[in-house]
């Protein structure tokens, strides 16, 4: 496949996935610019997994299309996977298999394989080539999966909940490795995660899915700049009509607004205004009825 120039690493157009009558992905469109670190967020059952499967050409959507690195992900899957590294949610391999056997097996599947890169990463992670996959910790399994995914110097790295079940140290080392790849090769990264604090300083664009639809899709910096928590000591007569959530306490009230521009706005007079973390924004947007 030609290494054609493409502006966007991923283009999802009007994608719909149905299981019998249930709509898992409902007309989703999104764009991941080349070089971006794109976080796809959503609660369990929001449609992330179906979307990622379509993205990787593992599943044919009922409607719409996914363009990966300029090519259709369903019809061009085999060729595309030479250029896309994937760390799946449940990085798994036969437990009796040695790490060295696993890397050897994978090396035969890809034309563009760097054994040196794999060996170097495994050494950095402190994983012996002779250890059996089944004896590795969850974090080590993910590290092996990442080393395999990066062995082909992918243009796009897809991380499906990469830090799930990892302790703080393993999480740190995984993110450090991704940062190195970003700095050295400028790859594009798409990740799904529940570890919102972990990606807050790394993601530059965010999509939030709820009930099969994309409810937020923008630069993280812009998203964070427009959300604020407002604490009123004295509850105003008309509590912000445009607020995402509101709550009364005593004679005061609290609101989360999504259209904040400036501290000086009149509606914030005699109120405390506080920025929100990505996690808080996520809960406000996707929390809904739990």
């Amino acid at each position: 496949m030609s290494n054609a120039m493409y502006e966007n690493a991923i283009e999802v157009r009007d994608l719909t996935v149905r299981y019998a009558k249930r709509v898992a992905v409902d007309g989703v469109s999104l764009t991941v610019p080349r070089g971006a670190v794109y976080a796809l967020l959503g609660r369990n059952g929001a449609g992330k997994s179906s979307l990622v499967r379509c993205l990787l050409g593992e599943q044919k959507p009922q409607q719409g299309s996914v363009t990966l690195l300029g090519h259709d992900s369903w019809t061009q899957r085999a060729a595309l996977m030479e250029r896309v590294g994937v760390v799946s949610e449940d990085a798994d391999a036969p437990p009796h298999m040695k790490v060295s056997e696993l890397t050897q097996f994978c090396s035969r599947l890809y034309a563009r394989w760097s054994q040196t890169a794999v060996d170097e990463r495994l050494r950095r992670f402190g994983i012996a080539a002779g250890s059996r996959f089944g004896d590795l910790s969850k974090g080590q399994k993910k590290q092996v999966a990442l080393a395999l995914a990066l062995a082909i110097s992918p243009e796009l790295l897809v991380l499906d909940d990469p830090t799930l079940g990892l302790d703080a140290v393993a999480r740190k080392s995984l993110f450090e490795e991704v940062i190195t790849e970003l700095a050295d090769r400028g790859i594009t990264v798409l990740l799904t995660t529940h570890d919102l604090a972990g990606i807050e300083t790394i993601a530059d664009r965010v999509a939030i899915m709820a009930e099969g639809r994309v409810v937020v899709e923008e630069e993280l910096e812009v998203l964070k700049s427009r959300f604020r928590r407002i604490r009123y000591i004295q509850r105003p007569v008309a509590l912000d009509a445009g607020a995402v959530t509101t709550r009364n306490w005593g004679s005061g009230a609290e609101a989360i607004v999504s259209d904040y521009r400036d501290q000086a706005e009149e509606r914030f007079a005699a109120a405390e205004v506080e920025p929100l973390s990505l996690e808080e924004i996520f809960i406000a947007v996707a929390g809904g009825q739990s």
């Binding site: 070089g35 670190v37 740190k172 993110f175 450090e176 940062i179 190195t180 970003l182 700095a183 050295d184 604090a197 807050e200 300083t201 790394i202 993601a203 530059d204 910096e221 964070k224 700049s225 405390e272 920025p275 929100l276 973390s277 990505l278």
Partner: protein, 131 residues
């Protein structure tokens, strides 16, 4: 070095920019000295390298840092300071937040000032009143 607070109202690139300016102001980074590479700083702060690059670019454009081709990025020989109007605006914002915290925990102005002085000393800022 300095710490990035993702829940700060200031975007991360600005926090990096301010962090570098602060290190220069307190003499931890001296004129003509190299600054960490984008890769190193991204690693140690655990932020997206593109964000660090953006901060460095702004610091270069404003004359705080200089890029020597093929060598790296250095503190300018005479690093430019932030414009006075900009400085005042930033201070006013930060002061408003600090005053709000002080009031909410119920300390006097005097105690608040004492704390501010202690922080100033801890971060290596000289007390210009006594100079």
């Amino acid at each position: 070095m300095f710490i990035i607070n993702p829940t700060d109202a200031a975007p991360i690139w600005r926090q990096i920019e301010e962090g570098v300016r602060r290190l220069i102001a307190v003499g931890a980074l001296k004129p003509g000295e190299p600054v960490p590479s984008v890769r190193e700083l991204a690693q140690s702060l655990r932020v997206n390298p593109n964000t660090v690059a953006r901060s460095y670019q702004r610091l270069t454009e404003t004359g705080v840092l200089v890029v020597r081709r093929g060598e790296g990025t250095y503190v300018a020989d005479r690093p430019a300071q932030a414009k006075k109007s900009e400085r005042n605006e930033k201070l006013r914002d930060a002061a408003a937040r600090y005053a709000s915290t002080a009031l909410s925990v119920g300390v006097s102005l005097e105690d608040a000032v004492t704390e501010l002085e202690a922080s100033f000393a801890r971060l290596g800022g000289e007390d210009r009143r006594k100079a």
